[in-house]
Symmetry: C2
Subunit: 342 residues, 2 copies
DNA sequence: CTGAAAGCGCTAACAT
DNA sequence: ATGTTAGCGCTTTCAG
């Protein structure tokens, strides 16, 4: 427990006029000394800054926003902060945005598209720009919001709004090739949320690559993209007599593994499991999970950078397509299928 | 990909005066119709609101803040957003704050106390109140910040600043009793960050209860409170010839288990492991982790509620001590020690 | 190089 | 019940 020395009561915050008075100059000079130091004579500037320091002056953001017409804050809207896939995204965006001297508003939609729209609309008026992470709202709504404030969409491709999206192709191709090489010929894809762009893309990629490798793909679900979603998925995959499971994401894969363990099905001996995302815990389970890794940090950085460059009206610095490619991380949940189960 | 129908260009945002003009009233009437509907005649009110709707008027927050002297936003500062212990905290706080019609600024200190101070200071001027989650800054700094804006401290006890802290006693007592009942007599505590209030409290509780149960406690560390911190911890605990390990938190416990598995030490047969926090993944590992559960959601809700009541100047609604108690969740990483290892 | 004055959009006395 | 006015704290022409 910290000690409890008395501390001065909060007094009225010091304004630019107090500084001006105390430094014997006008408010404009203080403003200039702070924002355009080169415009004020070194002597005066020094005196002003010293006074600012002494009085502990901090410009009132609201007043500044009002005068400037910009808020110096950005907004980030994610489906679920506590989701281990989004948390690192939030962290990286926050860091980037902060570096550029913006504050960050955060909101969580609880995976609900209409909440998403509502929050985005509400935020659009109090920020200089918005990052929508994996938005589920219809394209029309997206455009409505983009019309009110600069918007960047992450993890979804949009023609009308600047977006940073992943290329699932490479990772999925590698996953399918890997599983094919091990000898699997009948696999299941455990679908995620029907409305989600990610799910559609992943499903499409798995379908295409399985076809070209001559793997029979059984599409199951949709399942909730969470741990418990994997329970049902595991049971249904077992019933479908596949030898390998591609899960919509790692959480589902973890649920699958847990359920398989409960049912006494050994991974990878009796069933191979491939996750998606490569969230932190994927490498911490036993056995560690084979999964299609997504460069979240890259996506997050790129999203922040894109929004920032939009605001600065500099040429958007888009990442090379290659950086946004997914790739397979082979760990221990994939193996050669047991003959007797084929 | 969403379709790309043309959308009207962003025009200058509509102000209260435009609404006033269009509705044939004064700006004050519009303001009143919006903020104190009962003060304006039903007919006028209706006309105004209809105009507001038609024009899509949204009050400028900066202007409102400036006039009102309040920002309608709160700030939350956490050590690490991506940490599975803090992420749910952020989520719950966000939800609560939002319910009360506040927006939430989020910042991440990257576990650094001086960044923490810096962020808190910067935020203090643009929010109506601040929640500091598990702050590491010295008490003196805490008071400096509390002098500038209402502050609530979570996961740490403070005499000078309103705080919501946990009672580690019950959970630790149960953990020690549990392990004692299984027959363990020599255990290790893997310490977390030296400066952290949580670590001090946990260590103190383990020391006290082990003493009273006649368990010899070997204190190791400190270790980084992350997965890899558990690697070293596992090795050192093994070297110390203990039969059970109390980890500072679940991440460390997971690291311990991973390392033990690598070294071929079976859990719980050859080593029992007890975590702390009960983060989501604790129940997803195999074997599932025995751990001291913390009611994070309760702490988060309570913190938000406390700050909100401070701002509303209502009587703070503090949670009953009992709600903030920790408790042991027994899963499968604790068992009877093998004689030959004692 | 510096000061005076106007204005950002809104609210809240104060009139009427 | 509604309009007028002043002012929140800052920036920014515009003068000098």
């Amino acid at each position: 427990m910290d000690d409890a020395t008395e501390v001065p009561e909060a007094s009225r915050p010091v304004t630019i006029h107090m500084v001006a008075a105390s430094a014997g100059v006008s408010a404009s000079t203080v403003s200039r000394a702070l924002n355009f130091p080169e415009l004020v004579k070194p002597g005066t500037r020094e005196r002003v800054l010293e006074t600012v320091e002494r009085l502990g002056y901090q410009p009132n953001r609201a007043a500044r926003s009002l005068a400037l017409g910009r808020t110096a804050s950005l907004g980030l809207i994610v489906p679920d902060i506590a989701n281990p896939f989004f948390a690192p995204f939030v962290k990286v965006v926050q860091a980037r945005v902060r570096e550029a001297n913006y504050a960050l508003f955060l909101a969580d939609t609880d995976e609900d598209p209409s909440t998403e729209v509502e929050l985005a609309l509400a935020m659009s008026q109090q920020v200089d720009g918005l990052i929508l992470c994996s938005p589920r709202m219809p394209g029309r709504k997206l455009r409505t919001i983009a019309a009110k404030t600069p918007v960047v969409v992450a993890n979804r491709l949009s023609r009308s709004v600047p977006s940073i999206a992943l290329d699932f192709g490479p990772g999925v191709q590698q996953a399918v090739a890997h599983v094919h090489a091990l000898g699997h010929r009948r696999c299941a894809y455990l679908s995620g949320p029907g409305g989600s762009w990610s799910n559609r893309q992943r499903l499409r990629a798995f379908t295409a690559h399985c076809e070209s490798y001559g793997i029979e793909l059984v599409v199951l679900g949709p399942y909730e993209p969470v741990f418990s979603g994997g329970y049902r998925g595991a049971d249904e995959a077992l019933a479908a007599r596949v030898t390998a499971i591609f899960a919509y994401n790692d959480m589902v894969a973890l649920g699958v593994m847990s359920r398989l363990a409960d049912r006494g099905v050994r991974v990878p001996d009796e069933m191979s499991v491939v996750g998606f995302d490569d969230i932190e815990v994927a490498s911490m389970t036993s056995p560690p999970l084979t999964t299609v890794a997504i460069p979240v940090d890259t996506v997050a950085k790129a999203s922040a950078a894109l929004l920032l460059s939009l605001l600065a009206e500099t040429t958007p610095q888009r990442p090379a397509a290659q950086e946004l490619a997914t790739r397979l991380v082979i760990r221990n949940t994939t193996g050669v299928p047991k003959e007797d189960r084929i």
